[in-house]
């Protein structure tokens, strides 16, 4: 073992010369003004002194481990015997499935007993004498280092990397090209969405279909103060792209008294006070439909953005940055509500290119 640059007197072995008698206290002198109090004298546990106490601890540990075994057996027994639909009342958690309760209880006891037994064993029976483990320099010894360097040089010479240039250069080429496969896969981050974010399934003439009844809506169906959700005609729930499309096209339909509508464009785009707004919050796109019919406010359950549906769905509170997009609606020849085009602005959260 080498101790090249550590002064001999600072080595732990020298420092703790009389460490074999713990409890002795170094005395302050001129070179060392602060006395090292050293370790306190070792104190014994009752189990170290009294053999009966030690056997008691042993029995306790064995009891905990046995309890764990019983609990595991109980776990298996509960799984096999208790019917899964049986319900029992347990204070204070109330009605609970008997099987879940038994499985949880036995599993908990089994694991806890193993842990508690191990802790009790370590604390009362395993040796608790303080052990001093000395620190050593990490550097390898000079002859080991010299051998490693020599081995490396010999290996480099035998590989003939400097002489066989063809091998060397092709190897560098292979290693340099290989990461390209990872770079090419980054293409999957694209392509850019193009105009997809700006369009929904709505277009001129599409009927507003009630999501509850799957029937097209008539103006007379929508009472003042009511709330209805609509999807574009032709989009069915079993369609493969239903979730993708409804996430942009979902509509919230409410009817206000026309004289309560403060925004001129909103009134123009409504039909006899029936207004159709996007159900997707302009903050991060939560479905937003906590509608208060007396205040005409609609709020988002995620971050409490609040929109005033009587005033162009203006944001009156919260983090949303844009008013909810309104869909211009009218009535077709057969008396059904229809869209008069797509949303004029992108629905949902703002994005980089939207500006």
């Amino acid at each position: 073992m080498s101790s090249q640059d550590i002064p001999e007197e600072n080595l732990p072995a020298a420092q703790d010369a009389d460490e074999h008698a713990p409890g002795t206290v170094a005395v302050a002198d001129e070179t060392n003004p602060f006395a090292d109090p050293g370790l306190p004298p070792h104190e014994h546990r009752i189990q170290d002194i009294d053999e009966r106490a030690a056997s008691r601890s042993e029995r306790t540990v064995a009891f905990l481990f046995t309890l764990s075994m019983l609990a595991t057996a109980g776990f298996i027994a509960s799984y096999v015997t208790i019917p899964s639909d049986k319900s029992i009342y347990v204070f204070p958690i109330g009605h609970v499935s008997a099987m879940n309760f038994a499985l949880g209880l036995t599993l908990g006891v089994a694991l806890f007993s193993i842990g508690a037994g191990a802790v009790h064993w370590a604390r009362t029976l395993m040796s608790d004498v303080e052990i001093i483990d000395e620190r050593h320099p990490i550097a390898a010894e000079p002859e080991v280092r010299a051998k490693v360097m020599a081995d490396f040089k010999q290996g480099a010479k035998e590989s003939a990397l400097g002489r066989r240039k063809l091998i060397r250069n092709t190897m560098f080429g292979a290693l340099a090209l290989f990461p390209l496969s990872g770079v090419v896969l980054l293409r999957d981050l694209g392509p850019l969405p193009g105009t997809k974010l700006r369009h929904t399934l709505w277009s001129k003439g599409k009927l507003l279909v009630n999501m509850n009844t799957n029937e097209p809506l008539r103006p007379s169906d929508v009472a003042v103060g009511s709330l209805t959700f609509a999807k574009p005609e032709g989009l069915e729930e079993h369609d493969e792209d239903f979730q993708k499309e409804i996430a942009k096209a979902a509509l919230m339909i409410v009817r206000l008294q026309p004289e309560n509508i403060k925004d001129k464009q909103e009134l123009e785009w409504s039909h006899e006070g029936i207004v159709a707004y996007s159900k997707i919050c302009t903050h991060v796109g939560c479905p937003i439909s906590l509608y208060e019919q007396q205040t005409h406010h609609v709020l988002c359950p995620c971050h409490q953005s609040t929109f005033d549906l009587s005033d162009g769905a203006r944001v009156i509170f919260g983090p949303a940055g844009h008013a909810l997009p309104q869909l211009r609606i009218g009535v077709n020849d057969e008396g059904y509500l229809e869209a008069l085009g797509d949303f004029e602005e992108p629905v949902g959260p703002a994005f980089w290119e939207r500006g």
Binding site: L227, I288, L290, Q294
Partner: protein, 269 residues
């Protein structure tokens, strides 16, 4: 007329007929030949309206106006229908104790017979939704799964996905639907009390409403079982996670501290 004859089988209709007919028309009744049932019913109805008007004048007119036309303190009741009266008075929300963000549910102070009289009077002011029949609000035979879907589309945003209620703006809130009479749930959907939007039959059919009631009965009824136990208000992963982090981890830390704090030495220092 059709509405009247539909209501004549209502169990309370018989009580109303009996009491009122005895009290008010006993003398006259003896003098004339027994009228047929429809006629008696009609008499009972107009009597109920009269009685309801008296109750209204005492209990409601100060806010809603002497003819139900509404004042600055209370909305007009013309056209709200019997269902709205049955909901508001039947859940104790009306008569209101004090103005505030929201009128809470409280002890019902009118008997069901009186509520029916009030409802009859308000219904006579203008056509509106009628009190639903027993069949309409019964969860028997309804589609619970469809009800769940409808509930999540139309109701869950405010009332939470199992009807535990939730907060709205400025002190308003969507109340918990636990233990609410199916009749009152039906009426609330139909009439849209306070800030709740209405869901009239034209957009949410009677069948849809029944499905929703059946769903609530299944997930939030008196006999609903909670297989996991300790549902922590049924509010979902946030409350459950918080409970796990605070109490679960807290207990682990407490045990670790307790183990390390106790000395195993024979001589305690």
């Amino acid at each position: 007329m059709k509405k009247l004859s539909a209501r004549r089988r209502h169990p309370l209709a018989a009580v109303v007929v009996l009491l009122l007919a005895l009290a008010a028309t006993g003398g006259l009744y003896a003098a004339f030949a027994p009228a047929d049932k429809a006629q008696a019913d009609e008499t009972a109805q107009s009597l109920a309206i009269d009685e309801g008007k008296k109750l209204y004048a005492v209990g409601c007119a100060s806010c809603h106006g002497t003819g139900g036309q509404g004042t600055s303190d209370g909305p007009s009741l013309v056209g709200v229908g019997a269902a709205a009266v049955d909901f508001q008075v039947g859940t104790g929300r009306m008569p209101a104790q004090q103005p505030g963000a929201q009128i809470p549910k409280k002890k019902v102070i009118y008997s069901q017979a009186e509520i029916d009289q009030l409802a009859a009077y308000i219904a006579s002011l203008g056509a509106g939704p009628a009190i639903p029949t027993k069949n309409q609000v019964s969860p028997e035979g309804a589609d619970i799964a469809a009800g769940g879907e409808l509930f999540r589309t139309n109701c869950a945003q405010c009332h939470n996905f199992t009807g535990k209620g939730g907060a709205l703006t400025h002190g308003k809130y969507a109340p918990s639907l636990e233990g609410v009479d199916p009749k009152h749930i039906y009426e609330a959907m139909q009439t849209g009390p306070q800030n709740m939007p209405s869901f009239p039959d034209t957009t949410l059919s009677t069948k849809n409403k029944q499905d929703i009631i059946a769903y609530l009965d299944a997930v939030n009824g008196d006999d609903t079982e909670s297989p996991g136990g300790l549902e922590l208000g049924g509010l979902g992963p946030v409350s459950e996670g918080l409970f796990g982090w605070v109490f679960g981890l807290g207990a682990l830390i407490a045990v670790a501290v307790w183990v390390a704090a106790r000395t195993a030495k024979a001589k305690k220092s």
